[in-house]
């Protein structure tokens, strides 16, 4: 205890070692604080996250995320693989929206080598990118409602997500880890029925969206559990580098699809879904509005997509010049996923650094959760929609 007292007083630090807390601060006039080890095996941690929580009764006094339980060394592995071999690794980071993860790497290398992507490939990429966003947000609905104690929306959401995965499987050959985008476009042309299937799915999904809204964001109990819960101040969010629907739920208009457009996005008309409540409810609303925007985007992209044409140009040798580097970020369903590639003249990247959105978002957990109820802490953890595979990489 004495050694701890000498340390500078950090409001969010535990006494004792952070990893292995031995004692608990006793504050005069307060009841005992209990350290609760939430995870790495816990139903609400969305993978293998461990959150060290101090709880005073039901009140959360500390929330320290410990990560690394799912670390698989992807960045290092990419350094000993050729550029083409790198793409499957990106799938495995954010496995909930695998297809979206391939894009920043492709864009960065395309820019390094000056590869011109055919129009058709750009549109197909965009369509699948937005379809993955819907699938990913469906997983978020399901797991978030499980966190809040409702089981039914989970099964509804996964039912409809399965249709998207079937479409992706038909075209790319795999459901979750498709390995479909590549440098210069897409690996092969899509399944002949894909566009029709997608349009059919969108019709179905538009019919089902009001049902989801009635079960979630329009339900009084859901609003009671989320409105005013987990307030993320816009400045705090910016300081932590929070992006995606979490940032837009805090009232900041920042969307790379608009601010740094790529692929077919410059030709498409859509709205950035900004909500001003800064709480879990706003974040949820932002995601729900993105469903409709994604549907709009996909419809436009399918209409504009060239009916025929190449999807993969003749590629140069994938061997960027030594010292060349490129950072490219895209707006995946969780926020800004960036890839920083440094080339050394060989066919393997010298360094590949991924800037993952969930990693930054998780750092804001303590700012949102400390001081709230324990149940709210779970609601907050669910509302930021993290994927541990992407945090640990």
């Amino acid at each position: 205890m004495t050694a701890v007292a000498d340390k500078p007083n950090n409001a969010r630090n535990t006494s004792g070692s952070v990893m292995n807390p031995t004692s608990v601060e006793r504050v005069a006039g307060r009841s005992d604080e209990m350290l609760l080890n939430l995870g790495p095996q816990h139903p609400a941690t969305h993978g293998v996250l461990r959150v060290l929580m101090g709880v005073d009764g039901e009140r959360v006094t500390k929330a320290i995320p410990h990560i690394g339980y799912l670390h698989r060394n992807h960045e290092k592995l990419e350094e000993v693989r050729t550029y083409t071999q790198c793409i499957p690794y990106t799938d495995r980071m954010d496995y909930v929206s695998g297809m979206q993860n391939e894009l920043p790497l492709c864009l960065a290398v395309e820019e390094m080598l000056g590869i011109e992507v055919p129009e058709r490939a750009k549109y197909i990429r965009t369509i699948l990118f937005e379809l993955s966003r819907i699938a990913s947000h469906m997983v978020w609905i399901g797991t978030y409602m499980l966190d809040l104690g409702a089981i039914t929306p989970f099964l509804y959401a996964f039912r409809d997500r399965e249709m998207i995965l079937d479409i992706i499987e038909e075209t790319a050959g795999a459901r979750l880890l498709p390995n479909y985008f590549t440098y210069g476009g897409i690996r092969r042309d899509h399944h002949p029925r894909m566009m029709q299937d997608i349009l059919e799915f969108l019709t179905w999904f538009e019919k089902k969206l009001p049902e989801y809204e009635a079960l979630t964001i329009d339900a009084p109990v859901f609003q009671a559990r989320t409105v005013g819960v987990g307030v993320l101040d816009p400045q705090v969010a910016l300081n932590h580098g929070v992006t995606g629907p979490n940032l837009r739920g805090s009232g900041i208009n920042w969307d790379l699809r608009k601010d740094d457009p790529y692929d077919a996005y410059p030709h498409l008309d859509f709205e950035v879904c900004v909500e001003y409540g800064c709480d879990a409810y706003s974040r949820s609303r932002a995601r729900f509005r993105e469903f409709r925007e994604s549907i709009k985007l996909i419809r436009q992209a399918i209409a504009q997509c060239p009916k025929a044409g190449a999807v993969l140009p003749k590629l140069p040798r994938l061997k960027p010049v030594a010292g060349m580097e490129r950072y490219r970020a895209v707006e995946i369903s969780r926020g800004q996923l960036g890839v920083h590639i440094v080339a050394d003249g060989s066919e393997k990247p010298w360094r590949s650094k991924h800037r993952s959105p969930s990693f930054c978002t998780l750092q804001a957990l303590a700012d949102m959760a400390v001081g709230s109820k324990f149940s709210d802490a779970i609601a907050i953890l669910g509302s930021i929609d993290i994927v541990l595979g992407e945090i640990d990489r």
Binding site: G149, E170, Q223
Partner: protein, 477 residues
Amino acid sequence: MSIYENKEARLPLERVQVPTDNHYRMRMKHHGLLNANPRKSGLLNAIIGYALLFGAAHGVLILAFQVIPWLLITLKLERNTFWFNVVYGILSPVLAFLFIAVVALINILMLRKYLGKVQNRYGPLHNGPSGSLQTVYDALKLVSKEDYTPKMVEETIFTLAPVLVFVSAFLLMAVIPFAPGWVFANVEAGAIFIIAAGTLGGYGVLLAGWSMNNKYGLMGGLRAAAQLVSYEVPLSISLLSVCVYAGSMNLSKIVEAQQSLWFAIPLFIPFVVYLVAGLAELKMTPFDLPEAESELVAGFNTEYGGMRFGFFFVAEFAELYLLPALLAVFFLGGWFPPSIPTFNIPLLTEWAGGSSTLLLMLKANISEGEASSWWNTLFQPGGLLVGIQYSFWFLLKGAAGVYFYMWIRATLPRFRDDQLMELCWKGLIPLSLIGLLLAAVSKLLPAVGIGISILVGSAFIFLIARGAFFPSKQVKA
């Protein structure tokens, strides 16, 4: 030579054939997702399954209230003599246990099937018709598991807690009248007994959470305690209103007082309060804070396994039937078939006794001595067929209540603990007090009291639906 070594076996990308069969569509069709109809011929199976299970529940009741007393009478033990009471008193807990076990098994199955229906999936399907034997296998599995006690627990209390919870459900069961005369213990102060027995289960949960030396368990136990003091008060007050209106605390007499008019109409407010507070007593979904699985892993039963957990489980699902059953006793006319002033659903035996010539002929063909014995056992009030019909309506009302609670469970997310307390202390307690007052008023001035009570109750339901009792409202952006 593998395919990777054989260069000729690898096709250039352009020549890879994409399969053109439409298995995506086929799969959607197979799952019935396109028309959202997961089952084609499940209804008949389900009816057979439920008929079997309700037959079992009925069978236990008949065994308990007709066959065993009849056997005792044939053994020259007259009803209400000392030795009859002793022998029947020893047998009745066994029968009550049998009924609880059957009802719990049915409820678990019903919940799983119903949730499956709601959630576009099948639920148990393989064991027995429509999966009706699945819970039997589950129960056998629990029984056959190792009786395990973790090392650091408070052992006496850890062992006692599931027993307390189970005994609570057991005691509730003892005073429920299933049909006229079909009750294990006809307690005069039945309503008070029910409040006491129901609270006992809360103690069990609290002690379980405290004794297991687990942080999640402790939080679950404390939440259960907070929940108990919140819902128990409005629940008790609403039962009190029933007693005031019926003029008795005996459950059989309360039911008999509802022959012409179910109490749900004059006592609408206590009825609503009981519905909500009963949900809290069941620890079901909007109020499942003590075992909130996404927050507290399993809450108060985290460390329990095998049959110790089984006791909690059986008690939970027995209560899932017993609370709606009590709802039927207090508010929905107990064993009486649904009756509104202009239309009565008559009991079959009333027809038989009155006009059926066939039965009259039957009656004429037998000797007088014989008639008085088997005719009475079958068709007279207190007889077997009368009892079966009455208890059929009773079980049906209970099942309707169970489905209502399951519907809520399938739909709603969970409240926070302070929201539950807010709802109970600021919403339900004042409301139940108004209900008590109006019960007294409608006893004296029926039209005024009933009118006001229905108005206030409807307003309350509307307010709940609008989320009026929850601290945070939706903010407009």
